[in-house]
């Protein structure tokens, strides 16, 4: 009878291990504390968004109302000069610096900042654009926004209100949103971090 012991052990162990595997796959979140989740990105997106709408693009005494000089300076890739705005304006995005330097987060963190709204009233929300010829806010689909779409973002051209890489398709991307007023239009500042 002892001859069955090996077979017996094999069957017993496999039934038990199958049950263990089943339990761990079936209970979501058992291993969550030990997995890499978007916890860091959640905080980064929220804080970057708050900082942008309360200090960088707006006067801290007047949060959520974006000032055009600082907003344009922020979205300009070259150093925006002497503008007194609440971000690191020595960061030159054409000279190797990145958006992360401008908002003050670590280089490994990837972020995209967009200001979007439905300005022309067609029911579609698009990224906004500062039309330097008429000094007004238009949508990126507007023909007035031509220079910005061509990515000619040097001084005294149209400014496209999007900065940073396009968000990842494969990783968890955390979005933070703020309602703001930009030049009389109600817009949304969207910060995506991944």
């Amino acid at each position: 009878m002892r001859a069955q012991t090996t077979l017996d052990f094999a069957i017993g162990m496999s039934v038990f291990l199958l049950a263990v595997v089943f339990v761990f796959t079936f209970v979501p979140g058992v291993l969550e504390p030990f997995e890499a989740g978007p916890q860091e990105e959640t905080t980064v997106a929220d804080r970057v968004a708050s900082q942008l709408v309360q200090a960088s693009m707006a006067d801290p005494a007047d949060p959520y109302v974006l000032g055009l000089p600082c907003t344009n300076a922020f979205f300009n890739v070259t150093t925006p000069g002497d503008a007194e705005c609440g971000f690191d304006h020595t960061a030159d995005l054409t000279a190797g610096d990145r958006l992360t330097d401008r908002v003050g987060v670590t280089d490994r963190q990837r972020v995209q900042v967009t200001v979007e709204a439905d300005v022309d009233g067609d029911g579609d929300v698009h990224a906004l654009c500062f039309d330097n010829d008429d000094k007004k806010i238009v949508e990126v689909t507007d023909s007035e926004c031509g220079e910005a779409v061509d990515d000619d973002r040097t001084a005294d051209t149209d400014v496209l209100y999007t900065l940073g890489d396009s968000p990842s398709d494969t990783q968890a991307v955390v979005t933070a949103q703020r309602t703001v007023d930009v030049d009389g239009h109600t817009a949304t500042v969207v910060v995506e971090a991944w």
Binding site: M1, R2, Q4, T5, D8, F9, I11, G12, M13, S14, V15, F16, L18, A19, V20, F22, V23, F26, V27, G37, Q39, T42, D46, A49, S50, V53, D62, P63, Y64, V65, D118, V174, T175, A176, Q177, R178, T179, V180, D181, T186, T188
Partner: protein, 204 residues
Amino acid sequence: MGGPGGGRGQAHTLEGVVAALLLLASLVFALQSTAVTPLSASTSSQHIENQQESMADGVLSIAAEEGELLTAVVYWDESTESLHDIGGGGYANDGDYPSGFVLGDLLTESFSERGIAYNVWIQYRTPSGEQRERRLAYRGVPSDNAVTVSRVFTVYDDTPLAEADGTDDSLTVSDPGANFYMPDSSPSTDTYNTVRIELTVWRM
């Protein structure tokens, strides 16, 4: 069975099955004791609440900056004794906001188009110090995950009522002919009432 060591041929299999049953039983017990729904509290729903709170704060800040919060509070039709263009207690449907009610447009743009519902209440005091509430916009009972932001400001005796198009009326809030819903909480001073406007938002 029988013989030396008889009856022990299946011991490990039986142990394995019993251990597996024990594990499955604890799993069933754990799943039965909690209900995980899409609205259960988690770090991600906390994040969404934080975003909604910040957006609501932005809406009130913008409205306050443009003076539209005060306009919304004094948006009063003295002849019908109600808010402009409405019979009942508060605005209920999107798109029905009169032209002068800019706060309503702000709310529609910021929340309705994203599937977020909102209530706006006005709180004020009576001369005896009791607190009263009045609906400004009402979409129903908020969910457990609703967030609220508020602003406090003062209405003075000489604050004019707002016309339907948002311009100043010739009547002030303290005029007897205004039939204003809010009483003068401090009749002996120029202060009329201290108003708290409360915006509650939640995901539908």
